[in-house]
Symmetry: C2
Subunit: 806 residues, 2 copies
């Protein structure tokens, strides 16, 4: 059984996808309502498809360019394989396909939810959450399927057809696999940023001319931008979020695999386990696989029975599913970790030497990840939730005008970084202390195991929002809108907490990628006391800030185009305001599509261009490749730290403003007086929400992709910069081992110096052992004994390079 474990994740992924197809056909079989409803839904469906098609056209150009670049790199750098191009293209296709499934099901489920809401709330929840489940399983299933399939192909058929050889070969496998992750994350960049611009441009355009200038209500069918607005909800919140988590999922598991390989290396390059010697590498894949099944169980628990249920019951049903799946993942982690890992492992802690780590400590790391995932949602909920202190304060400050409302919202977003960052810092520290960077990566893997469930909870929000829109546009009974509003309201909360989860996952994923990068390049670490590294830390810190500004400006520009189009239609189409003239919805959809795709170019270029410039310009000027690797590492750290901060700040400030505005709908008490919609204070709150919209839906969520993609690009170019580029083509010709011990002391230090010949050039390498004298002696003996093995290993690498190139 153990030897078959490599196929377990793929089996689970396929099971998940089968369940998805069953669920999908069940949703599709539901009644999609009368003619008007169907017509509106079709408009949304077509608009969404139009966006996706336009996006995919653009992306295929992008994919071709990057593929050529990767092929060129593979040609010139002997340690990289052409197969990375295939992996990259498939990563992009899988991610796009997952987005496609999500968008299609979301735009088909919305009208069915409206129809179900005519009869009862429980069935409306069942359908909308069913749509979300399809989306979640599609993303998670394809992510695991793609990643594990490529791993098996590269491992079993290309690089190590005869079974485990050594960690260097496995590094080649994983470096090639990084292409899949890069492809997925590239799609995510454009889906998140483009989607974010799309949704806000349509929203602002529809509101500014429709609500404010023409005085017609939200989702009014006379508003030409209303379809674009509803498409936007799907494009941004469904496809964008899906691509984001698809990327995180793949990257997290990959990073954990890379670090698992380094655990094997630290243990001497070989472990003798029942899993073909790759237990630590298989573990994150297995957790991901089991997570899919657990998510299915979780989704089955989400249901309500009473037709009179309100928000708390719906929220309760979602929470039940969520908590149960988290608990099951914890249990599964215990089982998998103790089964798949050696009871004790040796891990090399930077600056502390090799430390014995028990498999239980790895399990505790996974608990850290699950804890962070759960707590970050509560933190987000506190700072952005209706009725909570921060929101009440913003409401209070709205009474003195828009200026004080804005200040209060900004301050709330800023303050919210305090608990979030302390939580992340504690998580990094503790999971590292438990099991090194492998622990950090497994914490992230455990947290991401429930991705399918998280996405189901997340996607049901915009579906319900759309359902409400369709009810409004097709002029249904008020009871229908009331029911969808309950779902929508819960969806707003889950949207905020889902963003918290997405940030946490991006942060931990980036750290794991960062650690994988350092191990890939073989640098000693990233020392910010070197001025070029420090300078790049500064530059990296600046990029998320500028990226956010570009995204916000993009929304502004795209919205202005939308405003002009809506104004034009109101003026030129006769009878449009009376409901006799038909608005040209497709023109608005086209504008949003075109503008968002155009405007995402510059931020995209910034994200991809900066790391490439930092890596290649100094190389061209003759800087040493390891120095460049360290600089790029500094840049990655800067982007991650600053990106996480700006993500939290912008998401929470945006969420807080949104709910401060919504507070006025039920009425709020300001200085002892009840204040409602339409008051001056409410107007101030609306201004705050206008500022918050691009914060929370465009620039804030884009930060996730920015930090992950930056670290992934680093990982992909790591072989070019890396130290193991040396040894990869090295031939150990001349090994001179010298050692010395310190006399008259219990403490001992031994330094072993040996030379290897890399491409004909002699390189001096040292290895240092420190500690109690007897330990050091043992280690020296092992090193000497290992000498022949090392020469063999170097030869092996040459062989495998030859195989790869042949």
């Amino acid at each position: 059984m153990e030897s078959m474990m490599i196929y377990m994740p793929i089996a689970m992924a396929i099971l998940g996808l089968i369940y998805m197809i069953i669920k999908q056909s069940w949703v599709m079989k539901q009644d999609s309502g009368d003619g008007k409803m169907k017509e509106i839904s079709d408009h949304i469906y077509e608009g969404a498809l139009a966006f996706l098609n336009a996006e995919y056209r653009l992306l295929s150009i992008f994919v071709v360019i990057v593929s050529v670049l990767l092929a060129v790199v593979a040609y010139f750098v002997p340690t990289t394989s052409y197969l990375i191009v295939i992996a990259f293209i498939c990563g992009a296709i899988f991610s796009a396909f997952a987005g496609n499934i999500g968008m299609k099901i979301a735009t088909k489920t919305n009208v069915r939810t409206t129809q179900a809401a005519k009869t009862s709330l429980p069935s409306a929840l069942k359908i909308s959450f069913g749509g979300g489940t399809v989306m979640g399983l599609g993303v998670a299933g394809l992510a695991v399927l793609g990643l594990t399939a490529f791993f098996i192909i590269f491992y079993k058929f290309v690089f190590m057809p005869d079974g485990w050889t050594n960690t260097e070969d496995m590094t080649l496998v994983l470096e090639t696999l990084a292409g899949f992750s890069l492809g997925a994350e590239s799609i995510a960049l454009f889906a998140r940023v483009g989607g974010g611009i799309y949704t806000k441009a349509a929203d602002v355009g529809a509101d500014l001319v429709g609500k404010v200038e023409a005085g017609i209500p939200e989702d009014d069918p006379r508003n030409p931008a209303t379809i674009a607005d509803n498409v936007g909800d799907n494009v941004g919140d469904v496809a964008g979020m899906g691509a984001d988590l698809f990327g995180s999922y793949v990257a997290t598991v990959l990073a954990a695999m890379v670090l698992g390989n380094y655990v094997i290396k630290d243990m001497g390059g070989n472990i003798d386990d029942a899993f073909g010697g790759i237990g630590p590498i298989l573990l994150p894949m297995s957790i991901a696989g089991v997570g899919i099944i657990i998510s299915i169980i979780g989704t089955l628990l989400v249901k309500i029975n009473s037709n009179d249920a309100k928000e708390p019951e719906v929220m309760g049903a979602l929470n039940r599913g969520n908590w149960v799946s988290i608990a099951l993942v914890a249990a599964a982690c215990y089982g998998l970790v103790t089964w798949m890992l050696p009871e004790t492992m040796q891990m090399n802690f930077f600056g502390e030497g090799t430390i014995e780590v028990s498999s239980m400590r790895v399990f505790y790391s996974t608990l850290v990840g699950l804890f962070v995932g759960a707590v970050i949602s509560s933190v987000t909920e506190y700072y952005t939730g209706l009725g909570k202190k921060p929101i009440l304060k913003i409401v209070q400050q709205s009474s003195t005008g828009a200026g004080t409302n804005i200040i209060a919202g900004l301050a709330t977003g800023m303050i919210s970084t305090f608990p979030s960052v302390l939580l992340f810092a504690a998580a990094i520290w503790s999971s590292y202390a438990l099991a090194g960077f492998y622990g950090v990566a497994l914490a992230a893997s455990a947290m991401m195991a429930t991705t399918a469930m998280q996405l189901a909870i997340d996607a049901f929000g915009p579906i319900s929002d759309n359902a409400g829109g369709i009810a409004e546009m097709s002029e249904q009974d008020p009871i229908v809108r009331e029911r969808t509003d309950i779902l929508d309201s819960v969806g707003n909360t889950t949207a905020a907490t889902g963003k918290g989860f997405a940030i946490a996952s991006a942060a931990l994923t980036s750290l794991a990628l960062f650690a994988a990068y350092v191990t890939f390049t073989g640098i000693d670490g990233i020392n910010i006391f070197k001025a070029p590294v420090l300078a790049m830390l500064f530059v990296g810190g600046m990029v998320p800030v500028v990226f956010s500004a570009l995204a916000m400006n993009a929304v502004g520009k795209a919205a202005m185009e939308m405003v002009e189009e809506v104004r034009r239609q109101f003026k030129e189409i006769p009878g449009i305001m009376e409901g006799t003239g038909k608005p040209e919805y497709d023109k608005c959809v086209a504008i949003s599509t075109k503008a968002s795709l155009k405007e995402m170019m510059l931020p995209g270029l910034l994200t991809i261009g900066f790391p490439l410039v930092i890596a290649f310009v100094p190389l061209l000027f003759g800087m040493h490749h390891l120095a460049v690797a360290e600089m790029l590492g500094g840049y990655m750290a800067g982007v991650t730290v600053s990106g996480v901060l700006w993500a939290i700040f912008q998401n929470n400030a945006g969420g807080a403003w949104d709910n401060a505005k919504k507070s006025f709908e039920a009425g709020v008490e300001i200085n002892g007086e009840m204040t409602y919609k339409g008051s001056d204070a409410h107007k101030a709150a609306v201004t705050g929400d206008t500022v918050g919209d691009p914060f929370k839906d465009t620039s804030g969520p884009s930060m996730n992709i920015l930090i992950k993609l930056t670290c992934l690009i680093g990982l992909v170019i790591a072989p070019i910069l890396g130290g193991h580029a040396d040894t990869g083509v090295a031939h150990t010709e001349d090994v001179t081992i010298e050692k010395q011990m310190v006399a008259d002391s219990n403490v001992a230090e031994a330094v072993i110096i040996y030379t290897i010949v890399v491409n004909g050039e002699t390189v001096v390498k040292t290895e240092t052992f420190k500690g109690v004298k007897t330990d050091v002696e043992t280690k020296i003996k092992a090193f000497e004994a290992d000498n022949n093995a090392r020469i063999e290993a170097d030869k092996k690498i040459i062989k495998s390079v030859n195989v790869k190139k042949g």
Copy 2:
């Protein structure tokens, strides 16, 4: 002459102070106008004094607490001296005294400027700029006087009475001297933060009730908060900015001295020059000393002749003075560097070994600093200047409401980090590449050399602003206000560029302190691949964000108290609106004073508490002191990177909103139509300015102090964490040198291992030489020859510790 150079800076400082006294008495002799003007001016003077006295009372408690803490540390840690307490107290007193001089002269000059404006613009400029000059020279003179006097006392009379001994003793001198810098920066924290809160609370309070609710113009004498508002200009812009630059000045020179000491260490611990062997340490002091005289020359060039002059002529006069002083500093740097430094130096570049650096390369570093100081002002000017593209865009976006105005302002501030950070990064990199961290510190020193001139330009703004206020309140001829408005308008521009200069100085100072910290602790560098260090990088990045939020909230709270008081007075004092009842100005002043001092506590605690917690809690839990030192270094880097970003973002966004609002005064073209004050677009711009006020005057400028103080606290506790705490009490008992060379290779590496006994415990130390074989051989010989010297040096440290403790 060379041997007397140590007294040169002190002589220059005294010269500067003498010139300051002459200038001061000249200003005081000017006509202070009629009864009403004098009365208002006296109110402002008394209000400012009341704030200063209240602040000093509070600060003396703070100084006592910190002094006790420092004394406790000095008692327990053998490598620190009790004298640091004296230095700390004097640093605080000197900084407070400099602030006092500035506030007094500013509040005396304002009315004299108003009086002079009755006759002519040139004499109004002469007087207001004269006041600024007094302020600038007071700050620079006292900074150089205090720092150099303490250096001479510690060096010549306490630690090395018989002349140069070794770099370890000099490290003790400089560590003790760090107390002076810490004292100065502590005062700056409270002056900047407290002043920032004060000025905005009074401003918002005066505007909200006076202008908006009661409909009376700005600076109307019937407004009870108007005096507090004018006091605030002095408290924030004069005393706050003065304390900020006082702190930067001292810290920069100190950091450069520390790094100069390490240059001597890298050169073998001894250089034989005409300056008593301390040329590299004296150089930054000398540049500062000469800078004072150069600044006096610069101020003499600031004058205009025509009474019909407008803003460009006034600006031109200021620019002339500024550019000439920068050019003179460049010339002086050339002379001093080539005269005082050895022609070539050996500097140890981390990871690259020892490199030969010519003194000319140090000179080029100073040019880098001067370049950054000049360019950052232009960058700031571009993003915040009237009529520039970013401002026009914000104006344009104001037409669609406050929301879009806010987004545009935020985006402008965010985008402005792009050129600024690239500039800083390029400066760090290039000055480091030229001459290591000594080069970075000297770049900062050169930039700061014109501090007196910069402050004169800076302080003249609020003086002119006040002069205009007095003209308004005492109901002078419109021509008087027109003239003061010209000065005020130029003052607004110089205020923005001055903030750019302050950020640049804070950034470079922090980097220099950071480098000094690493050398003080003796750690290998700061490796962010260690998870605890990375976690602290995150925490450090979060602190400026939370600090900013606290400062903004503080303004809100303090402003609310002011609003209530003004409302109360309008209601309760009979005849106040008719001008027959006298407003109780002092009550408003008292409220601003009390509120600002209360509200600055929490941010202050955050600033000081975080580094202490990070250093001492892990120590208590038994973490190794070098690991703690590295973590604290990570924290410092996080604060610096994030702090610089948030400083630029907030200052420039605030400045941009301010000038977007001001654009409406002259009228702006929006969509082809001229739009003026009172329009909807203008109202939107006013909202933006409300948000921008605390950004640019409270939280933004506080960032400078936050990052400098964080790095200084690190520097002061460095001896506790430091590696040289070991060797400080070490006795080299058992030196075993072993070495080995690699055969059959041109490249060689030698590792020398020796043990020393530290407090009875044996510690193994290694020293590694890499490079061409013959070089390595030479170095090993030098190391062996140096062995006896090293034992002597260790004995010496024991001796000097004994002397210190006796």
